[in-house]
Subunit: 373 residues, 2 copies
């Protein structure tokens, strides 16, 4: 099924409004999840809606958190996420980092008491429109062994960095410290397809191509000891430094019946503190164009970090987001249960969409569904 980004975003927002989030937070969660689907990072997109909803209902995530600053010194801030959704906590942290960076040139904000925040790039990219470089990292439930070890200790611990450009797409690094994001193994499991043998080990430490075995075992770090070392540093910055849970003490997203208590660290660097913004943007454009001009090995061309995702986003904004039928089915079941049906929307393009209904929720009128004509 192909669905327009705006339609999908509105539906996700409505779901989370229904589940008790404030309008602002529901809007944000919809935007964050659909941004991932737009960029082709389906593993961190709307496929996560059902598990978030389940955890909200079980009281394992606080839908109405009072995210607050608990410690600060100039450019450095520690926030408590009050067990809110990771997207809400992460975005609030990045807003704070941007404020600090405007005043002090740099802002670094750690968060404790948070939850799975989805695609790290979403938060790093908040900085772009402010003429800043954004950084976002998070720890995660233990699914990866230390290098040379046979049992999980570290999370896949994503790191994202976003760099503004002028005439070129922004440079956006967003990577898990595992060979692949665990979300891609979850996706393979949902779709029933095998995974490559170098992605993960099973419960007994043997390489496996079965995504279900891999999910019970451990994902391997990318680049061997270097990926492991980076994962440790992310664990230190996002977990240890913030007072969050770290290592195997972080709660699982799917299995666990306790709050995740995970941590993030985000940072914003005000370009103008170093170079005039215009000079910087010109230099970035030069870097991008020079890298792209390097002769490619096998036809095609060289891509910058985040460039393929940017191209995917442009296409999907125009033509809609293709959703796997297994995910659509899960969302449809959820939507019907709470009176927010996801209609069968055909495979048209965004401008064939119209709104088809509305209802009251928390005293507010919200759109409940939209058709693709």
């Amino acid at each position: 099924m192909i669905i327009s980004a705006d339609v999908l975003k509105a539906w996700v927002r409505d779901v989370f409004l229904h589940e008790g989030l404030s309008e602002k937070d529901a809007e944000l969660v919809g935007d964050a999840l659909v941004s991932a689907d737009l960029r082709g990072v389906e593993s961190h997109g709307v496929m996560r809606v059902p598990v978030y909803v389940r955890r909200l209902r079980q009281g394992l995530i606080n839908g109405r958190p009072a995210v607050r600053v608990v410690r600060e010194q100039g450019a450095a801030v520690l926030m408590d996420g009050d067990n809110g959704m990771g997207q809400v906590v992460g975005a609030a942290a990045m807003e704070e980092a941007i404020r600090r960076a405007r005043q002090y040139g740099v802002g670094v904000v750690g968060c404790r008491n948070s939850n799975h925040f989805g695609m790290a790039a979403y938060f790093a990219m908040q900085a772009l429109q402010h003429g800043m470089i954004g950084v976002a990292l998070s720890n995660a439930p233990a699914t990866m062994p230390p290098w040379g070890g046979t049992a999980s200790y570290l999370g896949t611990n994503p790191l994202a960095v976003a760099v503004p450009a002028r005439g070129e797409p922004p440079i956006v690094l967003d990577m898990a410290m595992s060979v692949v994001a665990r979300g891609k193994i979850i996706l393979a499991a949902q779709q029933g397809v095998p995974i490559p043998p170098d992605w993960a080990i099973d419960e007994r430490g043997r390489p496996t191509t079965d995504p279900l075995q891999a999910l019970r075992g451990a994902v391997l770090p990318f680049g061997g000891p270097k990926g492991y070392a980076l994962a440790v540093i992310v664990e230190v910055l996002a977990g240890v430094l913030t007072g969050a849970a770290f290592g195997p003490h972080v709660g699982g997203l799917y299995e666990s019946s306790s709050p995740q208590r995970l941590g993030h660290l985000v940072a914003a660097v005000h370009v103008e503190s170093f170079l005039p913004l215009d000079a910087f943007l010109g230099r970035i454009d030069q870097l991008v164009r020079e890298i792209r001009a390097v002769p490619a090995a096998e036809g095609g061309r060289v891509y910058l970090p985040g460039e393929r995702e940017w191209v995917t986003e442009q296409t999907r904004r125009r033509e809609g987001i293709p959703l796997a039928s297994s995910i659509v089915e899960e969302l449809r079941v959820l939507g019907e249960e709470i009176g927010l049906p996801m209609f069968s929307m055909g495979d048209g393009i965004a401008d064939r969409v119209r709104e088809v209904g509305e209802r009251k929720c928390g005293g507010k009128k919200i759109v409940t569904g939209r058709w693709w004509e």
Copy 2:
């Protein structure tokens, strides 16, 4: 040959005093280079003395730089290295970052107009004694293709992060974005040994085990596209943001006859801005011990990033630093030429060393050699 760290350090200091550096800077360069040898990172140790000396004599490095702040905003500072030695510029930048971090919780300092700074961990580790987490990164001459490309554009772009602990060694990540540091290929070339086939490509883009072919070709990024993406980000932060040269515009260390004009970025994070230092150190010790307790795959045990280097340093402080004879020979030639002979020092231990001579240099009395009895 095995040589005591103190003897080696004094000799390196004397060499650079002779080459016109200030006493403070010569001392610093000796300390930085020998620290690398102590940690087992020979590729960034005293083997670099001859090339540094050559470049100082050719006027390609400024031995008496006026390193200065050119732009600042609270926690963010841009410095100009005045084409000084990278060690001098990097250490000055980190001192500034530490000062800013004490005031603002975080300090980020970029440098332009600098040179090869050796082992990145040296600068990151400056932060440890101040109860801070240190970060250091640098760009470097283009020796690595972008992912999918056949020609060099990026440097190996080292990144180091140092985290203080209490009862455990500090956690120290220090890595090049290449499969290996280029220095390790230079070392292999000097020792005439082949390199593994996945380290580098030759001039025509083919894998090679010949270190000389590899040095004419390109080193490959570690972890494929992820190592490439990290190298781009380091290039942006150390090169583009600082106004330094970037990509192939950075001057080579060995070949080029122009200043390198490379850039660094260092940062310090004041732990106390986030958590009481004591609580943080206890949590780091816990992390270290828990990771070390993870069952290992093949006998032995799991190591933390930087732990092997720390163990090596303890041993070498006690028992001396083993130097390859090819390196000793180069240093001996240099020493004899300038009247600072490196004596043959046997293979004893540090406390068998005594000073054997002194001379005047720039009006100051300096030790010119020490024997191991």
